[in-house]
Structure formats: structure tokens, C-alpha cells
Assembly symmetry: none
Homo-oligomer: 188 residues x 4
DNA sequence: GATGAATGAGGTTTCATTCAT
DNA sequence: TATGAATGAAACCTCATTCAT
């Protein structure tokens, strides 16, 4: 039997990619990523056929990780506000814990390497709380706006909130809460 | 006297940079930018010593252009809502008119090439309507949040709004207005 | 296992560098050196990280080669004159055989690319006959001069001798001998 | 009447070239030389048609300056040793006073930019004390060696001496004297 | 599968020289 | 003459990807 592609190595590459891209931008060299992952340059390409594929997979991974966090402990039966608050808080916690991951996720999102198909696949991870966003979209405040606006709005306000948490880490808890309240008020 | 450094050429380079970066990302080749600007490769470097400098100047230029738009026709004596609405609308109009510029502006903003000093210089262009944001920051909804949150919030919601305008260009006017109303409500 | 860095290729690069530099000076293009060595442009940089490193290694190589010649057949137990004569003759023979190498060695020596550290490392190769120079330094003629003067003196007179051998190759043997006698007399 | 090429500017260029080459090697940029000379890039080329010409003229200038020093106060009627000593001392003094000029002179000499014709023209400046070298060449010690050997020998030993003076500036006078004695003994 | 040397196109920047002013 | 912007070939070096081992 031949050796098998190891999941550990795959993860090591993705983690190394996060670090390297956080430091050097999307232009980060595959060779450096490989070295950081503790593997040979060539090995990287047995896990990801091209750099573009690596980047797309990374995007999926990061989105997936964030979504997993939001899905965990999701109060399926809570009130709309409770569910919205859960999503808000759990994403922010992930972003605070892994700022480089969030940074890279943003860079990937803004770039053109991520294919529409990848974006679609990434969105699939939201299944759990998508219903919540659908409900939010029904609120008077945004009913006249396209589907998805509520989600985008949350993302946007979180982005702004993150920025300030990064600057005042000690006020983290308060900022998380206040941020949510601003978001919530926007929807009333 | 020798030939004089022409403002037209400088502008041509910056415009070419916008187009090229919009298509190829921040990795866009200086040689291609030069060709698109109709000058020789070397000439670019008599206007901008390094690519990094070009990128920083471009950021300044784009921010400046957007701010100029917001400053133009600013209703100095209008109500707070009128002034906020002006800022909201004029930025969105600029972003809609020049989507590539906005896109590049976002990419630059997210990247690490823009120095803190450039960011400070860019912020200087906001003088006119900064007072408005200061006033917004005094509203109950965001009083507990750090200075600058209102501005960041507007940027964030605009970002979300832009995304949807890009997808539904025909609804532009309505989306602009609805977006503002969401923003405004968040502050009440 | 991957392909292994080949000593032959390394040598080929160094030899090509000698030829290219002899023809074009220290400004010789790395691309041309690579082509002459029969490898791709990029390959050169897997053997030498930068051109500067290549130049320093080349210096080491050339000095090493010359010193190896002088060490070979060194009459450890011969009289001072015999030992000095051996050093004198063997260096000149090397320089005559490989005039381009000597030329490049001189250019490198005069330039600022060779780091002090490289110079120190190069000097290490003289171990064998250093004792001889130390003894020469004790002779009355140069005792009042700094340590190392005798060695520098030999180098200088050899330089002058070389020049004339290059012009009158047929008189090589006589000039080698006469040159040594002038050197030797200077020390008496 | 049109403006005339100014001798001052020419000198300024040559001096700037010395400084720039001493710092950056023969690859020094003409534009930097021009800036250092306080003139425009283009102006340099009205004084020297090409960089190569500039370099050749510089060589001539430096050799000329050194020779002028040796010619000054030349003891036409002194003994052979007195005359030789004068040449020895005055060159060393020049080299000590203007180490960068000497350094550049050496670099030029070793390179291939200096044409044979320039070398011939440079040699012309030695007229005054050439007779002395001719006489030195008649001494038994070097009679069997080609014409010019005595001069080359002096140059070579001076080179060695210079090196040590550079390292021990305080012993300058003693080293100058001792160096000469070594040279003189070599000829006896 | 794993390795890392090899490849060569392409990236940024420099530079001697020209030429409009 | 003087100026310095303009030129574009070339320089050094990087990098995604391939492939011999």
C-alpha cells in the first residue's frame, strides 16, 4: 500500500499559509508556506494542485471554522434576538482569538482569486443560522432591502466593531455588547 | 529648462494603476501600469520612486477624491440628518460611478502596504465633515462607543449597501435611501 | 530524495564567473554567467543566494586554489630561501597558467564587495607557509616594518613580475628567477 | 557669444566621480556623479561624451596629478638615490593625502575601461623622472630584467607600503622611510 | 508520497544616454 | 549650454511549478 496524504500535513500547510499571508499578503511564496509547514516545496503541490486552489481551500477552511463556531451551541429554540446575539458573539470571539485568520479571510474575500463557486460552497456552511438571517430580513427595517442584507449588515458592523476591539482590547466585552446593540437597533 | 514633470502623466499613471490593480490585484506589474499609462517603464519611477510609494499615493488620491466629493456641496448649516445624508449619498455616488476605484481603495486599505503615516494623511481630507461625525458620536446609541465608531459604522453599512447596488444597479436610488435609513436608525 | 546539489554545477558557475568577469568586469551579468555555466538563470541562485555571495565565494575559491598550489610540495625542511622560493615559484606558476583567474582575483581584491570576514577566511588557507613569512619578517631588512610586510612585498613584486611575464611569455623562466632574486635581495 | 564649457564644472565632475566611485565602484551612476558635482544629468555629457570617456579622462587626471607631485621640486641634479627617494616620497605623500583618489586610480588601472591609448598618454606625464627610472634600470640588480621593471617594482612596493600606512597612520613617516630602504636595497 | 534542485518567465528597479525646453 | 524628464534595455532576483531521485 502506498503512503496516504496526511490530514495533519494538509492542516499544517493551511496554518502556515495563514501566517505567511498575514505577514506578506497574498503574494506569499508557496515555498515559504511549505517551509513553515515543515514540508518540502514540492509536497505542497500534492495537497493543492495550484496556489489558487490552496487559496480557495484556505478560504473555505476559514469560513468553515468561523461558521462552525457560530453553529456550536446555537440556541435553536431561543428568541430571534437570542439567536442573533449568539451568531454575533460567536463570530466576534473567533475573530478576536484568531486575528490573523480573520485578516487573511478579509484579504481573500476582497481579492479576485476566490472563485464564485468557492463563495457558494462557503455559504453552505451557514445552513444552521441562515434561517435566523432570513427572519431578520423580514423585519420592517430591512424588508425593503434585498435578501441577504441583514447578514451583510451584521458582517459590516462586526467589521467596524473588530477594528475598535483591536485598538482597545481591554474593553472587548463592552464593545462586543454595544456593537450588538447598535446592530439590533438598526433592525428595529 | 528641461521638460517639466507633467501632472497629466502623473494622473495617467494613477489611473492606469487603478485599472491594472482592479484586474490583477496589488501584484499588478509596474511595467504594465506604465504601458497602460502610455509611458516607458522607467518613466513611472520618475514620478514614484518605488511601487510602494505609488500605492500609497494612489490611496491618498482615491481617498482624497472621495472626500472631495463629500465636501462638495456640504450643507454646512443643515440639520444633523441632512449633513449625514449628504455624506452618505455623495460617497455612495462616487463609489457607484467609479467602482474600480472603490475596489482598489478597499484592497489597499486591507493590505499592509499603506503606511500608518499615509493613513493619517488621508484622514486629514475629512476635515469638513469630521464635525458631523463628532456630533453623530454624541448620539445616545453610540455615546458609549469609542470616538470614530459612527464613521466606521457608516463605512461598514455603505460597504454592505454597495455590494447590493452592484448586484441590482437598477434599484440604486432606492437602495441608497434604504441603506441610509438603516444607518440612521442604528444611531437613534 | 530530491536531486542533489551538484558540486560540478557549483564549479561550473564559478568557472563561468571567472570567464565572464575577466571579459566584462565585476559588472558581469549573473544571467550570462548562468548561461555560460549551462544552467538556468534561477539555478545560479540556489547555489549562491546573491551575486555578492557568489563573488565572495569566488574570491575564496581563487585564493584557495592559489594557496593549495603553494602548499603542494612545500619543502617543510628546506632552508628559508628554499621555502621562500617555493612559495614564489608556485604562485607565479598558478598565475601564469590561469591568467584570467589571477586577473579576477585582483579585481575582487581591489573592490569593496569582498567582506572583511571573507578576507579573514581566505587568509586561513595560508597556514602552511605562514611560518615562512613570519621568519622572513624577522630578517633585518624588514624587522622594523609591520608584521605581514614581507608577504605584501612578495605579492607586490610578483605583481610587477607577472606584468612583464605577460608581455614576454618566452622569457617566463628567466623572469621568474630574476624576480625572485630582486625580492630576495630586498630582504637581505 | 555662446556660453563656454567651464573648467570648474569639468573639475567638479571629476572630483564627484572620485567620491562616487570610491563609494560605489566603477558602476557608480553618472546621474549621481552629476548630482554630486552640482550639475544636471545631461550636462555631464557635454563635458564627457560617454561614461567611458569620463573614466579615461579621470584616469589621466589622477595619474597626471600624481606625476605633477613627483615632478614638483624634483632634484634634477641630485644623486640617483636622492632622485629616487624624491619620487618615492612625493608619490606616497599624494596617495596618503588623497586616499580615495589612489583607490579609484587603482580600480581604473585594474579594469578594462582604460584604453591602451589612455595608458600611453598617461605615461607621458612621467617624462621628468623617467630618466631616473632608466638609470635605475641599469643597476646590476635589474639589468637583466625588462625595461620598466624598476618603475613597476617601485609601484608595487609602494602599494604594499601604502597598505600598512593606511592601517598604522601614526607610523607614516617611519614606514615611508623603511619602505624606501627596502626598495633601494632590492636594487643594489 | 516526499523531496528540493531546476526552470525561465516575469517582477521591480537602475542606468547611460537622448532630447524637448 | 544647461536642464532633468524620458527612454527602454538590462540588471538582479523571486516564484509557481515540474521532475529526477
Amino acid at each position: 500500500m502506498s503512503r496516504v496524504r496526511s490530514a495533519e500535513k494538509r492542516s499544517a500547510i493551511l496554518e502556515a499559509a495563514v501566517d505567511e499571508i498575514a505577514e506578506a499578503g497574498l503574494g506569499a511564496a508557496t515555498a515559504k508556506i511549505a517551509r513553515r509547514a515543515g514540508i518540502a516545496t514540492g509536497t505542497l503541490f500534492t495537497y493543492f494542485a495550484t496556489k489558487e486552489e490552496l487559496l480557495n481551500e484556505l478560504y473555505l477552511e476559514l469560513k468553515g471554522e468561523a461558521y462552525a463556531r457560530m453553529n456550536a451551541g446555537f440556541p435553536q429554540k431561543g428568541s430571534l434576538e437570542e439567536r442573533a446575539r449568539h451568531v454575533w458573539m460567536s463570530y466576534l470571539e473567533w475573530a478576536i482569538e484568531a486575528p490573523r485568520k480573520r485578516k487573511v479571510s478579509v484579504q481573500l474575500n476582497v481579492s479576485d482569486v476566490i472563485t464564485p463557486e468557492t463563495r457558494v460552497r462557503a455559504a453552505a456552511g451557514r445552513s444552521f443560522f441562515d434561517a435566523t438571517f432570513a427572519e431578520l430580513g423580514e423585519l420592517d427595517a430591512v424588508r425593503a432591502l434585498p435578501q441577504g442584507f441583514a447578514a451583510a449588515l451584521m458582517g459590516a458592523i462586526q467589521e467596524a466593531t473588530m477594528e475598535f476591539i483591536a485598538k482597545n482590547p481591554k474593553e472587548r466585552e463592552r464593545l462586543k455588547e454595544e456593537g450588538f446593540r447598535v446592530f439590533w437597533r438598526a433592525l428595529q
